[in-house]
Structure formats: structure tokens, C-alpha cells
Amino acid sequence: MKLTEKEIEIIEILEKDARIPIETLAKMVSLSVKETEAIMKKLEEMKVIVQYAALVDWRKVDGHEGVTAMIDVKVTPKRGVGFDEVAERIYRFPEVKSVYLMSGAYDLSVVIEGRSMSEVAQFVSEKLSTLDSVISTTTHFILKKYKHDGTVFDQGDQDRRIVMAP
């Protein structure tokens, strides 16, 4: 679908900061609050804006550290539906955070989040590997997140400029 320049600008701003007050957002794109609201509603209805999410650093929350694993999955595609059917079977599990069809050495990249390593291991061995189409899995645990979805974790954003300058 073709969006207007203003619509794209609103998406760009919201993607960076979904909690920006609508009055501020409206001023930034030189529209009225009403017009801005209408555009946001339209974008939500069209599913261009799919969700307003918070990016959380769970390591900082006691008891919520969790474990993230990226699993390379080789599968046998099925006639007529290709990879879609097996991908759907995988992404329906609540433990699965994302599924991508990949080119290269394996077919699907699956991101799993669990409370512990053994929980992830259990999911892989009991649920994922046992699917008919799955040929093999290789599990990589994420040890530390430095940057996620374009955001650098724990980055000091202090202003290094002097207070007055020509």
C-alpha cells in the first residue's frame, strides 16, 4: 500500500517512541491532534502498526532473567504449502518469539524464550524436534544482549557538548 509522507513520518516517530504524547507528535509533523489521531487509527486498522511494544532489559529484574535461544531448524518442505505449514506449527507455541524462513545452511530460524536453560532444552527435545517435518535442530543460547531491534542496551546517552557554543 502507498502511504503519504506524513503517515510514514508518524510511523517512524512511533517506532522510536510509541509513548510520545499525541500533542507533541502532532506538532512534530505539523498536523492537528485530530488529524494525527485519525492517521494513527487508520494505520492500526490497516495493520501497518501491528503493536505498541516496550523493549525490556529483563536481566535487570530479579527472578526474570530468562534464557533466549536461537535455533537453526532444518525441515522438509511439504508439497503445495512449502515451509508455511511447518512454520505455522512452530510459531503457534507460546515459547516461540519469532520464526524466520532463511536462505543458507538451514531453513527456519526460531527464537525461543524460556525461564531456564532446561526449559528451553525440554521444548526443543520434546516439542520442536519431534515435529514430523523437522530434520535437525542446532541450538544457540544468547549469552548477552548488546543491541536489540536497533536499541543498544545500557548505552549512556549523556550529552558531551559544552553548554554554550557559537
Partner: protein, 389 residues
């Protein structure tokens, strides 16, 4: 017999006014929790690819002098950039010079062209250095005041009124620091007519050319018949967020450029080598980042200027740079009083308009090159301040 101790200082320097920003810098620096709208530089850090190119040049051992005029490779990139962006052709061998910041280029332009007593027209409000650099070059700065009610547009007839037999040159800056005003095609053409009629040299400071928000930018050198009498000055500080790198450039007809090069080779030798390698990368692969920064500034401008008007500080919509220049005349305070009171009472640092020349009185310069959070907080504080007055 007691002899009067002689001064070691040159009389010109002794007479030179210190920058009006200095006092506010000292005051603001001594306070904590200040929101600074006083900075004339991007809040972005130079893009990583540019920093990386600089580091690589060091790793590879490029630590010696370059040609006086700068690396030929960089001058070629600058020529390509000027042709691509502003449709002006310059010969990288003889018409482009890499300088230590655009400031040095302005100094060179004046020193290479001004004879003692020559008058140089300076459009005010203006960047604080112009007037002093004219004086240091032995010239006489002649201010032309633009008017806030007219959005600080430079009108050709204003220039004509101050022209004398001694008038040599005119310094213009578009987009302007501090007003953000951009001169459009017809305005530039009208000024060009005057320049031709009176045989004036134009020193065109185009350091903010990358930061225009509403129309595409027209370089003064690209105006019909102007290339031969224009010294184009620009640099990497503002558009590419490279203020601390101190890298600028200038393009001019060979005769003028070579005269500037003469001074540069004695005074500076050449711009720092590793920085020049960073600049090559900036011109080759920096476009996307510049576009990203320009977009951010435009959004902040829209927000900030509308908010200033809402809280009662009337402000025209600046077409470029990253400064808002609102009027504070409704408060009955002078720009110095306003800036000082605002700083002390609400910890928001702005620059009083009078430091940019007499016509800046009654205005303040606010840089909106700050995060949206900071700008929102600044507006909140300024509103509180105004409500109390």
C-alpha cells in the same frame, strides 16, 4: 624615571570585542541541571562509518602532511558533491581548498581579498565571528540590519543603501545563524543584481546548506553570473555532525582560491590528515545519515517553534539550520536580562540575540539540536518562567 610599560598586544586585537556568548558560557557551566539550548552544534555523534574511516587511516599509518590544499582525493569528492547537490562545477586541482573548519575558510577569504580600509557588508543578526574577522583582516565591517517582522530576510535595497566606493564584499549566511532564515531564489537573484552592478565579492557561508527543511537548497554560486564573484564556504561540522573534527572547505575561482591557498600554506600547512580521510567517507557514504539527521531536526523544529508560539514567544518558522529565534519583546526585558533570568530561575540556557548584532536585540537564540525530551522540558520551564513574569 618610571617608564610606562608598553603593551605587547596588537592594537587591533586589543580593541576586539570578546564573544558575547562567553559570559553566558561561564554562568551556565557553573550550574547543574541546565537544559542547554545554547549550543550551535548537532547532538548527534559523527556516524560510525566516518569515525571508522578515520581510525583506519591511522592504523594504516597515514600520519604525514597532505598537499596544502588537502588530499586530492578529498577535493575530488568535494567537487563531485558540489556538482551533485548544488549543480556547480569546480576544478578540484585549482578551485577547492580543504580548511580547518569553515571558520578558517572565512578568515582566509577575508585576508586574501580585503585591503586596509575596505568595507565589508555583514548581514545582521549574524554569526559572531564575521565582524571580528573583517576587522582582523584590516577591513571595516558595515552592518546591514534585517528585521524580525520580515523574518530576517535580506532585501537587496538594504544592501544598496550602505554601498560606498570602499565596499569590497558582502558576507551572507543562508540558512542563517542565528535566525534560521533561508534566502530563496528570487531573493538571491535580487542580491546578485546588486553584486554585479557594484562589482561586489560575495562570501557565501553555506555551512548549514544540508540542513534546510522546506525547499531544496540553492547555492549562491549557482545563481546566474555569481560563480565568478563568489567564495563558497562550507564544511562538515553541521550537516555531517563533525564539529570537533574542524574540517571545512572553500570553493572559488582559481585566482581567488590560489590567493587563499598562499595564506593557508604559511599559516596552517594543511588540515589534519586522518580527519580528511574521515571526510572522504562522509561524502561517499554519508548521505543516508545526513538525511536521517535532517528529518529529526525538522520534526524538532516543527514541535519547538509551534510550542514557542503557543507559550507566547512569537517565532517565525525558520527554513534551515537548527535555531529558533523567537521575539521576547512582549516581556519588556532586554535579551540579556531575559537569558540571564531564564538561566538562573529555570535553568534553561539560551543565547541573547544582541550578541549577533544590534538587530538581534529583543530576540533569543534557541538551538533545537537537543532530544525531544529535553525540548519538551525546556518548553515547560519556559512557560513557567513566562507565566511568572
Amino acid at each position: 624615571m618610571q617608564r610606562t610599560k608598553k603593551s605587547y598586544l596588537s592594537e587591533t586585537v586589543a580593541r576586539l570585542k570578546p564573544s558575547g556568548i562567553r559570559r553566558f558560557f561561564d554562568l551556565a557551566s557553573s550550574m547543574e541541571g541546565v537544559i542547554s539550548l545554547g549550543v550551535g552544534e548537532p547532538d548527534f555523534v559523527t556516524s560510525w562509518n566516518i569515525r571508522e574511516a578515520c581510525i583506519l587511516s591511522l592504523e594504516q599509518g597515514y600520519t604525514s602532511y597532505t598537499a596544502n590544499a588537502g588530499l586530492l582525493e578529498l577535493r575530488q569528492e568535494i567537487a563531485a558533491y558540489l556538482a551533485r547537490k548544488f549543480h556547480i562545477e569546480y576544478d578540484p586541482e585549482t578551485e577547492i581548498l580543504v580548511t580547518v573548519g569553515a571558520s578558517q575558510a572565512i578568515d582566509l577569504a577575508l585576508r586574501a581579498t580585503v585591503n586596509p580600509g575596505d568595507e565589508v557588508i555583514v548581514v545582521e543578526p549574524s554569526f559572531v565571528a564575521y565582524e571580528s574577522l573583517v576587522t582582523l583582516a584590516g577591513g571595516v565591517p558595515v552592518p546591514v540590519e534585517t528585521n524580525g517582522d520580515d523574518h530576517f530576510k535580506l532585501r537587496a535595497d538594504q544592501i544598496e543603501r550602505v554601498i560606498t566606493d570602499r565596499t569590497k564584499a558582502l558576507i551572507i549566511c543562508s540558512p542563517n545563524n542565528p535566525t534560521g532564515t533561508v534566502l530563496h531564489k528570487e531573493e538571491l537573484e535580487a542580491i546578485a543584481q546588486i553584486a554585479k552592478k557594484h562589482d561586489l565579492l560575495i562570501i557565501s557561508d553555506e555551512i548549514y546548506a544540508e540542513l534546510t527543511y522546506d525547499d531544496s537548497y540553492i547555492s549562491f554560486a549557482a545563481v546566474d553570473g555569481m560563480r565568478e564573484r563568489t567564495i563558497l564556504i562550507s564544511g562538515f561540522s553541521k550537516g555531517f555532525a563533525m564539529t570537533g573534527w574542524r574540517l571545512g572547505f572553500t570553493a572559488a575561482p582559481a585566482e581567488i582560491l590560489q590567493a587563499m591557498l598562499k595564506i593557508h600554506q604559511y599559516a596552517m600547512m594543511c588540515a589534519p590528515t586522518m580527519v580528511q580521510y574521515g571526510a572522504i567517507e562522509a561524502l561517499r557514504n554519508g548521505e543516508q545519515d545526513v538525511e536521517y539527521m535532517r528529518k529529526s531536526y525538522r520534526r524538532r523544529r516543527n514541535y519547538f517553534v509551534q510550542s514557542l508560539n503557543e507559550i507566547g514567544l512569537s517565532c517565525h518558522m525558520p527554513g534551515g539550520a537548527f535555531y529558533a529565534f523567537p521575539s521576547i519583546q512582549s516581556t519588556g526585558l532586554t535579551s540579556e536580562q531575559f537569558a540571564e533570568k531564564l538561566l538562573l530561575e529555570e535553568k534553561v540556557a539560551v543565547v541573547p540575540g544582541n550578541v549577533f548584532g544590534a538587530s538581534g536585540e529583543g530576540y533569543i537564540r534557541c538551538s533545537y539540536a537537543s532530544s525531544m525530551e529535553q525540548l519538551q522540558e525546556a518548553i515547560k520551564r519556559m512557560k513557567r518562567f513566562l507565566d511568572r513574569l
